[in-house]
């Protein structure tokens, strides 16, 4: 009598075939895959419905108003408003962040990665930077309100776009430092050793080898920081950005920025009158903000690719 009967053999054969061709339905596996796919689908759906809602609501603002939506000033009638004061404010904030946060941030990152000894003080500095990155934006608003609007009034003229740029520069400084530190840390040690080997000083090695090599990562961090600064509204509310009337834009007067316009306009009720309601105006401003943020991301990716191609070439 055979140890394995024919029926057993054929049963095993089908079992193995099913396992190999993945026809065996294992319920927990399917359940897990389905759950994960649902999660991913919901995440994507959220993003796409958000973009779709902004774009469809923004279309009337642009098709009816055209360029005057960009060049007009803010006011109390949704079909006459424009976002020029917001564009001006956001542009000035962007320039301020570039001028203040980027050099400071890269400098700090170079110091912490290239110069600083591993002692308690420097470890504390790094931990402190990590903590600063997690401080809510609204707290930076309090800081800006007291320091830049209050104490530094002779420099900033109070709640102006200069105070806003300083506040947001401080807000994104930890982001610039952390991303630059990561980029500098990724530079191979051999590059530095080669520099020291031919007698270069620490600063010469840093300037000529480490920073150029780390540039793609530093630039990506810079661009992300810029995008973050352009989208923040909470600190601007704290330091007194306005949303009502702003006849003229200047560096020394009252100011507003695109996110402030979206904040203010989306809260206003849509009257059934004109073709463009407040929600269309808010979506129009939102589309401009999204476009700016996306453009900065694309610039970042482009620069990174450019630098990487150059590095391979040399």
């Amino acid at each position: 009598m055979p140890i394995v009967t024919d029926s057993q053999r054929s049963a095993t054969r089908t079992q193995v075939r099913q396992a190999i061709t993945q026809q065996n339905r294992h319920l927990p596996s399917i359940a897990l895959s389905v759950t994960l796919l649902i999660a991913v689908t919901f995440t994507l759906l959220t993003l796409f419905s958000l973009l779709a809602r902004i774009v469809t609501q923004a279309i009337p603002a642009f098709s009816e108003r055209g360029a005057s939506f960009l060049s007009g000033t803010i006011g109390s009638e949704p079909d006459k408003v424009g976002i020029w004061p917001g564009l001006f404010g956001s542009f000035a904030i962007g320039v301020g962040v570039l001028l203040i946060a980027v050099p400071l941030g890269i400098g700090a990152a170079i110091y912490l990665e290239e110069y600083a000894e591993q002692n308690r003080l420097n470890r504390f500095v790094v931990v402190n930077i990590r903590n600063l990155a997690g401080v809510p934006a609204v707290i930076y608003g309090v800081l800006g309100l007291i320091i830049f609007v209050g104490w530094l009034k002779p420099v900033t003229n109070g709640g102006t776009v200069v105070a806003a740029a300083l506040t947001l520069a401080i807000l994104v400084l930890p982001v610039v430092i952390i991303t630059s530190m990561e980029a500098i840390r990724a530079v191979p040690m051999g590059l530095r050793d080669a520099g020291y080997g031919v007698g270069a000083s620490r600063w010469e090695v840093t300037r000529d080898h480490v920073v150029p090599y780390a540039m793609p990562g530093i630039l990506t961090g810079t661009v992300l920081a810029l995008a973050r600064a352009l989208g923040e509204a909470a600190p601007l509310i704290m330091i007194g950005a306005i949303t009502g009337l702003l006849p003229e834009t200047s560096l020394s007067g009252k100011f507003t920025a695109i996110p402030m316009l979206i904040y203010s306009w989306s809260g206003r009720p849509d009257s059934s009158g004109g073709n463009i309601g407040w929600s269309n105006a808010a979506a129009g401003a939102g589309l401009v903000l999204l476009a700016l943020v996306l453009v900065f991301n694309i610039i970042g990716i482009f620069l990174r690719n450019h630098f990487e191609a150059k590095r391979v070439g040399t």
Binding site: T43, L104, G107, V125, I170, L230, A233
Partner: protein
């Protein structure tokens, strides 16, 4: 000189060394500015809080409204902290109910299941979601989540309420939850997975019994850091929360509510407001409380992240 090299010969041109030291001082001072920033934040918040406590005459009873209808009414000098802390906690909890399943699910899919091709497309999309400014998510809350999701399902009395704000804050922290957990999952060495496959475990078993437990400290870190962000989120809570600077203490999430952050922006208020007195100064006190809460969460979260780094 006896023909031997001295230390001075090897240390190079003194001018170059002096330049190097100058650069070190310059770079070092930019690093230490961050310490000054932290000190200033603490100083500003602490000084403002003391001013606030002085102007309410150190009467801490004001901070816990014990009247029949307790609430946060700064204009009437009724600062019921429970109201705004509860608002933050309620909206934060709703946000995490959204962000944990969606964020963690996306992370597990990206790290364990997605083919390389899908991953290459999906990961940048999640990063785009992370870059969307919070005012835009606030707009989305008012013009999509409220009318199309919350109103039809729950039919609340007012279309701006804590559920709407909570869901939108959840959308905002999904990418944080997803990216930190994905880092943790990918840090699990593949030898663990291979060992599991080697003894005949399925992919689902390997994921649930091996990979997730191995990455648990990173996932906890993701949860804590995302919670901290949710509590600190301002714009969405101010836009969709439904209260303008004052409101009663409520437990029902379908009612409008006030977070600590929204209370702060409202206290800073309009442009021509007189910036003095307890109704204004309370923003420093709330700010200090918020600062300590988020800082505590961040420090604990960072501990967990470090633990992941040390493990593998």
């Amino acid at each position: 000189m006896n023909g031997l090299l001295a230390v001075a010969d090897l240390s190079g041109d003194p001018r170059r060394r002096a330049h190097d030291r100058r650069m070190q001082r310059l770079l070092g001072s930019s690093a230490f500015i961050t310490i000054i920033i932290s000190a200033l934040i603490l100083f500003v918040l602490a000084r403002g809080s003391i001013d606030f406590l002085k102007s309410i005459g150190w009467d801490l009873g004001v901070l816990r409204d014990s009247s029949k209808a307790p609430g946060w009414f700064p204009r009437r000098e009724r600062f019921d902290l429970i109201t705004i802390v509860m608002g933050s906690v309620l909206m934060g909890s709703i946000a995490m109910l959204v962000a944990v399943p969606l964020g963690l699910g996306t992370a597990v899919y990206l790290s364990e299941f997605a083919p390389t091709r899908v991953r290459k497309i999906l990961k940048p999309i999640v990063e785009v979601l992370a870059g969307i400014p919070s005012v835009i998510v606030g707009y989305f809350a008012l013009k999509f989540i409220a009318p199309n999701i919350v109103d039809p399902i729950f039919s609340p009395d007012q279309s701006r309420n804590m559920v709407v704000a909570g869901l939108a804050i959840g959308v905002l922290v999904i990418p944080i939850m997803a990216s930190i957990s994905e880092d943790a999952l990918r840090a699990v060495p593949s030898s663990l997975r291979e060992a599991s496959y080697g003894i005949g475990a399925r992919k689902s078993t390997t994921t649930i019994r091996i990979v997730l437990p191995a990455a648990v400290s990173g996932i906890v870190a993701a949860f804590i850091i995302a919670t901290s962000r949710a509590i600190g989120e301002t714009m969405v809570a101010a836009m969709a929360g439904g209260r303008d600077g004052s409101g009663p203490r409520v437990l029902d999430p379908l009612e409008p509510g006030l977070t600590m952050t929204a209370a702060m922006t409202n206290a800073a208020g309009g442009t021509d407001q007189v910036n003095s007195g307890a109704p204004f100064q309370v923003l420093f006190f709330v700010g200090l409380l918020l600062f300590m809460m988020t800082m505590g969460l961040n420090v604990i979260g960072d501990r967990f992240v470090q633990r992941v780094r040390q493990q593998y």
